[in-house]
Homo-oligomer: 168 residues x 2
DNA sequence: CGGGAATAGTTGATATATCCACCATGTTGC
DNA sequence: GCAACATGGTGGATATATCAACTATTCCCG
């Protein structure tokens, strides 16, 4: 067992504040920690096996979900919940490496499309199986279908309470 | 409702790979997205209300969990699941701002202690109520006790399958 | 039409994270 | 002892994230 008590928490940090009770604390700590470790693991796996960062991967997945693997920058921002500046920097870096192209948009002359290149698609295709295997091994494979359903419902409930944009 | 279908996924990215099924996909997407948005929200709230970054906050909480608010750097790394280099950089920055002190360790002359200063404790005390309120409002308040229990158990199960160090 | 507000995207400064090489010290086994 | 290795921590280079301007266009409304 992981010793949850070693995970730094939010309880009793300072006097005179009403903290989380034991159940709340346990769920919050465990979840935070799970994500910290899991994302780290997945990011390292992606980088070392496929030479893609996690953000690279997410962008390529989002693009290839679309016909022609093409999206406007602002759509990408909305889809990923990133702010526009982050998208812009990320896409520029990926374009330098040849994973995507930026193309001016005829219909709205402010805008630009991002398109996954052949290279980008090949890199994604090479990265995806290992990544999915890791997700299954570390996350999905450790949970029951019922747990997955509860998690999905809970996460959606939390998402409903947050404003949509992610803050850009 | 959040439209989960707009969240980029892991399904059908490329042919000939066995992807996640619908239930797995839903849980994985929703959870990833919840964390992205929630952490962003909490980090912004901390920064704007209290002038602390999320990592600053975590370090101060970890320290003040201990008698004398004192820890070795490597303990901090283990507790937070960070690699040692990250801890070193983070602590240096915090020391520059007067939130913590670094002190040489007599018993092991390689080592050093990190100690929260009076300022660090005051900043934490000022930050904690707002942060906890946000956690309650955005996360805990949206979930039932049963959901919290399932989440805690699930997160612990996943943590058990990951190596303890976080990769440092 | 004209002007203000909103939107799309860029850029640069700064903060943070990761990777890797490095130094000093401690530990082990012979 | 001392050589080989492990551990604790630092530092620089690079990658990534965030924030606050800033430009260019489009939208809205009179």
């Amino acid at each position: 067992m992981v010793d949850i008590s070693t995970i730094p928490g939010t309880m009793k940090v300072v006097e005179d504040v009403r903290w989380l009770d034991e159940r709340e604390e346990r769920a919050w700590r465990a979840l935070q920690f799970m994500h910290l470790r899991l994302d780290g693991q997945l990011a390292r796996q992606l980088t070392s096996d496929a030479g893609l960062s996690y953000p690279d991967y997410l962008v390529l997945v989002a693009l290839t979900d679309r016909p022609e693997a093409r999206m406007r920058l602002f759509e990408l921002a909305k889809t990923l919940g990133w702010e526009k500046s982050r998208v812009s920097h990320q896409v520029s870096r990926m374009a330098e490496r040849g994973l995507v192209n930026k193309e001016k948009c005829g219909a709205d002359r402010r805008g630009a499309h991002v398109v996954a290149t052949g290279l980008g698609r090949r890199e994604l295709a090479a990265a995806a199986p290992g990544h999915l295997q890791a997700v299954r091994r570390h996350f999905i494979g450790r949970l029951t279908p019922e747990q997955l359903d509860v998690i999905a419902a809970a996460a959606e409930a939390v998402l409903d309470g947050l404003d949509g944009t992610g803050g850009g």
